[in-house]
Symmetry: C2
Subunit: 142 residues, 2 copies
Amino acid sequence: MLTIGSLGKKTGTKVQTIRYYEQIGLMPEPGRTEGGQRRYGDDEVDRLSFIRHARQLGFPLEAIRELLDLSDNPDRSCHEADSIARRQLKQVELRMDRLKALRTELKRMIHECSGGNTADCKVLEVLRDHSECLTDHDAIGA
Amino acid sequence: MLTIGSLGKKTGTKVQTIRYYEQIGLMPEPGRTEGGQRRYGDDEVDRLSFIRHARQLGFPLEAIRELLDLSDNPDRSCHEADSIARRQLKQVELRMDRLKALRTELKRMIHECSGGNTADCKVLEVLRDHSECLTDHDAIGA
DNA sequence: TCTAAATGTTCTAGCTGCTAGAGGTTCAAG
DNA sequence: CTTGAACCTCTAGCAGCTAGAACATTTAGA
């Protein structure tokens, strides 16, 4: 049986984060000692590893909740898990496209900066005048 | 003189967002009508456009605060604005690298999914067993 | 001039995914 | 039996907004 601290170490998760996952129902309520401390078994190690791995792949917690659900029901169709992953892939590709446009614009901004004072700073000028931009970069919230 | 709504329309900003910017000191407190409604002039249109444009380029609000500061002082060195932009470029490139690794992994996951039921779903399997991953993808918070 | 709709106001709370701190309790080694 | 590390709960905070409640003002038409 593991304490919350050891579970955290084993899975690379902060203690607070584990409690948070429990709070939002992503991790089950574990058994407790008489004194009220949490104790975990192998199942919980697996579950938390799964969650962490999915997080590393950028899946939002709600998607992970669905994936865990699917994982808990081995007789359901693989199709759903597949489509969640595809959705995530799309998100990643979308963000990449946006970042690519941003990078282009930022590079151009910096490249054209010749030093001197801010009165004729290219960086500030570009920010002031959107019409100088070549790409569509609506990255807010990207 | 513009109402907050018209300013919002002109700059593509939600009304609440403008008030939020005022609250955190990014936008100045504007003049008010006798009844207490905000009224804006051209300066504010420029300033808000600047902010929005920088947000579209992914600059965090604190960086934008610095950029606005620089923009307000035309005799200061351009160097600072340049280094803020370079910092932002680095962030963007870092995020792109991470996303690239994610995309690789997600594609592999999906590609190997053959349909069937979740018991032998590749997507879930990969999530369960980190050792199957080829790339380092520590994207949490990316 | 009156009225009604549109837009404005403040205040509070919520979103994601944690993270940190206060103030107190339990556990395990020595 | 003591001590100190690790645990407990609870609350609040981060970015960057967004939404809603409950009320006031403005403006255009009748």
